[in-house]
Symmetry: C2
Subunit: 339 residues, 2 copies
Amino acid sequence: MVLTADGRLRVAVVGTGLIGGSVLLRLHACGLDVTGWDPDEQTRRQARLAGVPTAERLVDAVADRDVVFLGGPLPTLPATLVEVATATGEECLLTDVGSTKAALAAFAAQRGLTRRFVPGHPMAGADRAGLAAALPDLFAGASWVLCPAPDGLAAFRRLATLLTEVFAARVVPMAADRHDAVVALASHVPHLLAGALAGAAQRSPLSDAVLTLAAGSFRDGTRVAGTPPQRTVNMLRGNRDEVLAALTEVTAFLDELAGALRSGDGDRLADRYVEAGAARAALVGRPYDQQVRSFPVGEERAELDWLCGLGAAGGHLSACQVRGGTVYYTAHRPPTARA
Amino acid sequence: MVLTADGRLRVAVVGTGLIGGSVLLRLHACGLDVTGWDPDEQTRRQARLAGVPTAERLVDAVADRDVVFLGGPLPTLPATLVEVATATGEECLLTDVGSTKAALAAFAAQRGLTRRFVPGHPMAGADRAGLAAALPDLFAGASWVLCPAPDGLAAFRRLATLLTEVFAARVVPMAADRHDAVVALASHVPHLLAGALAGAAQRSPLSDAVLTLAAGSFRDGTRVAGTPPQRTVNMLRGNRDEVLAALTEVTAFLDELAGALRSGDGDRLADRYVEAGAARAALVGRPYDQQVRSFPVGEERAELDWLCGLGAAGGHLSACQVRGGTVYYTAHRPPTARA
């Protein structure tokens, strides 16, 4: 564990809705010295009732902290980052939990914060919002993207250690723009499809009967259409160009399916479903090769390239330790031969 | 319960894969006199090993039966219907469990079988196929469509009693062509969207990373892409025109979402998600008004109209009893004012 001189990590979480709140609850449950803050007074009261230390002002929550997690609605994160960076010292690590990364990473670079701010994105969520929906175990086994900057590897290592040890998360190192292209397909377009399916059902003259006959495929396929609308809108707008590009790929495949169906070509339709089924099979039963990889602290370029290559290949880290000038990563990588 | 003179209903299930097999297991678990048959020899052996009576030949399975359920792949159902109708007497009720209804209903009408054949479709399933995946409780609480013909109400009533009492299913009476239009949106288009999303992910140069970052929205949205391809193809081809029409409605809504996103119109995007969310809210928390409705046996037109109106309005039956020349239905109907 990354500890401070007095042996106890001091953490703050700013913005304690569903995601930030789950971070807060986990850190508190693990016995870390953590303080939460949220602009919403009722949320602060809720946190206090749950027995979690909560400050009345942001500056009090983050003062003298070693690590600060930034949560809250996506459009608020740049201002929160500036506010927290100003209120904390140079040695205080900062990370966020927002669902898009490139814009915030660029903003942090402009402000000269890349040495201590590591953009992050835990791939977990729920249809509901707010601290009341937060769960301390939300991130156990989940992928948690961190976007290391060339001059931010020291910060990346300490956060990777914290996330694997305290949250049992799979840390996925990835460049910020790559992250945004990947989540466009892995999360944002699925929200568009769910919205389109639920919206068309709502508008249909057959709506009542459709909802009665809704089978598992409809229920699963529309689940995230029940997410609070503004959260979905913020996420999609924060990644607009990548989302529209990924949507083009998905509608191209949809057109192939519809074309094969229209022309009555059952073999072609079946071939496309075999192709689709391969992704599904890889999703539910993908094996990983495990390795321990080490780098001398100071050779940042090789370490950064290896980290970003690991994430791009679908791999993740389950441990990070720095001992005697060497960093040791425990890495898990899908076999390269996946069709 | 609809019983025969000797007090015990004799049932057969022909085609015992996932759905037919689940019907077979439920009937057997409830102590009915049931015999199964499947063209696949290994499936028959499997059923026997599970302690379920199984005939070696179709004719032996259906001889002297009161009710026969027809399962198996969708394209085989017309031939199976003819074969079973020929091997059974005029008083033997027939129903199927196929996922489209209009073509088979028309076929049965041509063959003069509407008095004893009631097209059916239980709205339950699983990603896996075959008797090994069958579950006796698969239909508990599930919607089960039955399509009554004007001269087939006596058969409909007896099946409705059987399905509610033995399977604890919600019987949804619906005209066959209406069923096909409804399931196009409630089940078939969701299979197209799942295939398109999984297929695009499989083809993407970012594929490995997409699968690693796949959040709940992607996992849920692609689940049915893991269904055996030929089953999906049969289902889509069996309802081609309705599926393509429903797909047009869904892609129109998708275009609205993409258009609002492209133009950066967050309010319009949020409005569309509010609309979509209404369907989702109705899906998970829809109340029903309960009533008991009776008809004198013999006034078929009024009964048929009421039944089909109930299904079209999103309602279902939880009981059906015939006593002294009157049929009593316990019906559940969503409040009419749903926005």
